[in-house]
Amino acid sequence: MHSLRDAEADLRTALLHVEPRTRYVEVMAERSRGLRVRLDKNATVPEATPHLAGAVFRAWDGNRWVETATTGLEGASLEKAALALRERLPSTLGERAPPGDAASHKADRSTRVGRPPSELPVDARVDYARTLHQWGLATPGIENVFVAVEDREDERFFLSSAGANIHQRITRVRGSVAPLALENGKVEYDFLVVGAAGGLEVLDELTQTNVTESARTALALLQAKSPPTGQMPVILDSGTTGTFAHESFGHGTEADQLLRDRSYLKPILGEVVGPESLTIVDDGAYPRGWGEIFFDDEGHPAQKTVLVDKGRFVEVLHDRESAAAMGRRPTGNTRRADFLSRPFVRMTNTYVEPRDFSLEELVQEAKDGVLLERATSGIEDPMGGNMQLKVKRGRRIVRGELGELLPSMALSGRVLDFLKAIKGVGRREYFTSDSGYCGKGHTDILPTGTGGSYLLSEAVVGPA
């Protein structure tokens, strides 16, 4: 099968089994392909992306959504899944229409790729990974370097009884290097990650200079002392700012949580939440954003949604159901992790727009606190409005100057307090767009992009 469009006839036949029993039915077919090479001193592991292909059907039963799904795109599998869905639907249509607007767009879109991943087949990719590995090992004292280079193309084809016909291919490339240092049983490492929608040109940011600096940091972390603990001024580096925008704020703007009365942001929609220098955006069409999509998984086009506009919380992210309930339009944020997963309101590329300050100015303003670097993770608390972020390293700030290196830390506090305490946002020259994976809770993992510049505020810091 050259393209998922080759399955269109079978998909339409399957939909026909369901249409008489519902006011709306849709199907999304999906398959992924790609190659990852992992390499360290002990093992070289090339792996193709699993050849997993299948489809999910969704229909309105008069009161709620019902879904079935299947691996395989041959007619028999699709028919079986469609018939199983039909069995779940009442024999009469029912009066209640599905909520919100059904999309009816027709489109065929693909990621713009500079250098196609196919230009780096497995042997060349192993050689490239070895080069990154050698750059890291060249620093005396580095015990090992973990390298991963991967590309993945996610192809989706969406058809609906409302006339939608959308085919899209998203290509993502990611590379990571993690130098490892050991001393008397203590293990430390640093890491670099680059990732974006696009082709091999994404990997150009993995330079020997960057890898060497990371290796030196891994060694230095062996000597790093425990971080300070407690409430203090904090500067987030660009990656941590982006992670904050996504985890701590963005999840609260997913409107399905507002409908569940499970968002701490719901009561303050329309109010000022931070300084005039703060603008937070979600943008599925952000150029080369890791969370790039052209259309969401209900068939609505991806778009830029300003969530916080110069300090005022002005908008949330909608699927068709929440948009209808709140009198808004869908924002192109309905996403499934894959055809085996249900759709939720999800972010795409979420970032804090850069502003005015240099890092030096922010450090001077902070006086005494910490600079947090290399965000590793975060988790949402949409109900409680608290934040939890984790970074791999940082720097102490003492009397307005950057000081000693610090090991991994966790950041917590109340998001609204953190926003109100923002004293400055860094300039565009520091802005980075980063790659990550997000869950809705602990499941349904999909790629999301984040971004930002430096940001100064206050929070609770502790070891992690």
């Binding site: 699993p50 299948g54 709620r64 691996t71 490892l180 499970r262 249900r342 602990h442 992690a464």
Partner: protein, 470 residues
């Protein structure tokens, strides 16, 4: 899903295509599953999913070259001969460029069905998943009814009925059935008193059975915690004795110890040596692949080797490491049936897309002399009981973990006192010799263990834990 409906084991179907055509050694791991979900929006059912029918398999080829092993892995869902052929070709290509430091691989051999005693199936769920799941949801919602100021806000019950099969070029052909249930329930407390924000208690658990009875016993506690968190203060800042119960430890111990006490960690020189001290004298931990209803239990590991129980830590000293077929060959160490397939950072209800790595199955922490929960905290003048972290974010490589306190209690004068929330707790679970770590700072281990997913453990009191509060 009966065995008859399931059809022949997926691994056997694929193995039939490989036998005689593909040079040994090779291995196939297959899964055929049906998956069902019910999603809640408050007290209403928002979405019903299923059956979600999944068939998939992973092929591994082993190609020795001089002193290394080339390992090629491919996974897919189409069992048509042409598709299998394409996957084999891809695996062969990858094997040419792969290398692992071993000249051999200790693939298990033999046949047979499940071990007796490894309880892995919810029979009612297996027989009628739609009704069983629906009944479980109804029971849960009924338990939450009629409680003023309390309501479910978000949640799902997800059930998988899985037929796992493994076959390899030695003639091994094994299969077994099992059920997996993932429950996620957020309980909200709202309403008066004036000014108190809503509180939430967020339950996430994995079981082999629908946890209907467990919910009955626990739901009062969830509601109580959700309500108490409305009045929670920030924790103190400093070093304190901290008690971590099994629901917190389950996100830490298996992830970190499962890697650090494995052949994979030994290969990278980050495993502690067998015979070295890793924790206090009262700490004894085993890996047990046969634990009844343990979420990590299976009659065979994901390479087809029969599982059993192995001591990992005995009186604080490392007793054993965990090995799969490749790592046991690399170190000429006995295979411990510890090959497991899973994504790196999140759990999944299917495993065939992942190549196996050595990891733990279920960890069993021997009960200590700390007594009941009340007795465990009796001697604490000022400390914390952490009921729940946002997420512990275990880092298997560095051995550290840390997260925000989502729900906890101050301990004052030997008793639980005011609720706390926010702030962070964490640090290294394991560290180099002489360096402080959680395992070397254990003050007492409780006497009453409970099973939570893949961990059997009592609450544990740790001394001198760094807590970051406001």
């Amino acid at each position: 899903m009966s065995s008859a409906e399931a059809g022949p084991p997926v691994a056997s179907v694929v193995a039939e295509e490989l036998r005689g055509r593909v040079e040994p050694p090779w291995e196939v791991f297959g899964e055929r599953a049906q998956h069902f979900e019910i999603h809640l929006n408050g007290p209403s059912v928002e979405m019903v999913r299923g059956p979600i029918a999944l068939t998939g398999y992973g092929i591994r080829l082993f190609r020795p070259r001089e002193k290394v092993m080339g390992v090629g892995f491919s996974a897919g869902s189409d069992t048509a001969p042409a598709s299998i052929g394409r996957l084999v070709a891809g695996a062969e290509a990858n094997a040419r460029y792969s290398s692992f430091p071993s000249s051999g691989v200790n693939l298990p051999s033999g046949n047979g069905g499940a071990h007796p005693g490894a309880e892995l199936i919810d029979r009612r769920l297996w027989a009628d998943p739609t009704t069983a799941l629906s009944d479980a949801v109804e029971s849960l919602l009924h338990l939450l009814e009629g409680r003023p100021g309390i309501a479910p806000s978000f949640g799902s019950l997800r059930a998988s009925l899985v037929h796992t099969s493994i076959a390899n070029s030695t003639g091994l052909a094994r299969s077994y059935e099992h059920t997996v249930v993932d429950s996620e329930v957020a309980v909200k407390a709202f309403g008066g008193p004036e000014g108190a924000a809503p509180g939430e208690y967020w339950v996430n658990r994995r079981d082999r059975q629908l946890p209907t009875e467990a919910f009955r016993g626990e739901v009062d506690g969830w509601c109580d915690r959700a309500e108490r968190m409305r009045r929670a203060d920030s924790p103190p800042n400093g070093a304190f004795p901290v008690v971590l119960p099994p629901p917190v430890l389950v996100d830490v111990l298996p992830a970190i110890l499962g890697f650090r006490l494995s052949g994979a960690a030994r290969l990278r020189k980050v495993a502690p040596a067998v015979g070295s001290r890793i924790g206090v004298d009262s700490l004894t931990i085993s890996d047990d692949g046969q634990l009844p209803f343990g979420s990590g239990s299976a009659p065979f590991d994901d390479e087809g080797a029969r599982t059993s129980r192995h001591p990992l830590i005995r009186a604080g000293v490392v007793a054993h490491l965990l090995y799969d077929a490749l790592h046991s060959a690399a170190f000429d160490s006995p295979h411990t049936a510890s090959a497991w397939r899973a994504p790196a950072f999140f759990s999944s209800w299917f495993h065939f897309p992942f190549a196996p790595q050595p990891a733990c199955s279920n960890l069993v922490v021997e009960p200590g002399t700390g007594g009941s929960d009340a007795e465990l905290i009796e001697g604490i003048d000022d400390g914390l009981w952490v009921d729940q972290l946002g997420y512990a974010f275990p880092d298997p490589l560095s051995g550290a973990f840390g997260g925000e306190i989502r729900a906890g209690y101050r301990i004052r004068n030997g008793k639980l006192a005011e609720p706390v929330r926010g702030g962070t707790v964490g640090g290294p679970l394991v560290a180099g010799e002489g360096e402080p770590s959680f395992l070397s700072s254990i003050g007492a281990i409780g006497s009453h263990p409970t099973l939570v997913a893949d961990l059997v453990c009592p609450p544990i009191r740790f001394n001198g834990v760094s807590v970051a509060g406001a």
